[in-house]
Amino acid sequence: MGCVDPDGKPTVSGMKMLRALQPDSKTPEEVAEEAGLPIYRVRGGLRDLAEYDFVSLEDNIYTLTAKGAELLVPTR
């Protein structure tokens, strides 16, 4: 997994992709532009994040899931 650690937590790149999906759902190309990451990395990474239910995919559009959004909530 390139964007999810073996312990199930998104890597630094994975978190960049999750943040790029706020507030709107996006295509991999849009995520790549927003996150400043290569498109191949984003396509592979979003696939990993989807396997762990951090994002969902429909018609090439990725959306943050509740589990993914939870990671982006600021903690005190």
Partner: protein, 217 residues
């Protein structure tokens, strides 16, 4: 995949690049992840070897030039991902060059056999120094094979990218030793009438079949 050696040579110029899904130093990647971009898939014999190290440094140093041309790089050898990670970290520590591209850990040789990277006449246990230039439509546009003893010329690979992109953009060919900015070859006419007209079309012609032009003309 069975009888792996039987698969050597499946990759053909002008044919779709064989699909792969592989573990890399940037996670699991597929050929499709590179769709819409040019891709240079290249193999090296083994991690922690001197010639390969010089090649990785040279590819890394030219990475920005490849990126300017819309080209992604993807390395491969039959080492493990842990070996790849240790090696790229070692290169950064000892030589001061960060390797920005992913490297396939083809421990089962699946990609290597599919692409004919293992040249039995050379060795059965290592990949040779192969380069596959794949276009945004995932068609194999060029292949280069170097032996184990000879490090690749990265300027030549960049020149090849420039030549292919120029040929695609302008519907021309490029002569021997062509460099960006040099005159290009006008495709020869394929009819007698075309041949008669060619000499009057204002190109720099030695004969009807051998005409050059500047790209801005």
């Amino acid at each position: 995949m069975t009888g792996a050696i039987d698969n050597v040579g499946l990759t053909q110029l002008g044919a779709p690049a064989p699909y792969f899904e592989a573990l890399t130093t940037h996670g699991r990647l597929t050929l499709d992840d590179f769709q819409g971009r040019w891709l240079i898939l290249f193999s090296h014999p083994a991690d922690f070897t001197p010639v390969c190290t010089t090649e990785f440094v040279a590819f890394a140093e030219a990475h920005e030039e490849f990126q300017k041309r819309g080209v992604d790089l993807l390395g491969l050898s039959i080492d493990s991902v842990y070996s790849h990670v240790a090696w790229v970290r070692n290169i950064e520590e000892k030589i001061g060059v960060k390797i920005p591209f992913p490297v396939i850990a083809d421990i089962n040789k699946d990609v290597a056999f599919t692409y004919g990277m293992i040249q039995e006449g050379m060795t059965k246990t290592e990949t040779s120094r192969c380069v596959f230039l794949i276009d945004p439509g995932q068609i194999v546009r060029a292949m280069i094979y170097y032996p184990l003893s000879t490090g690749r010329s990265i300027p030549e690979i960049l020149r090849l990218v420039d030549a292919l992109q120029t040929a695609d953009a302008h519907h021309v060919a490029t002569p021997a030793n062509w460099q960006p900015g040099d005159d290009v070859i006008v495709p020869p006419p394929i009819t007698q009438e075309g041949a008669e007209e060619r000499m009057a079309e204002g190109y720099d012609c030695r004969d009807w079949y051998f005409c050059k032009k500047k790209l801005d003309s």
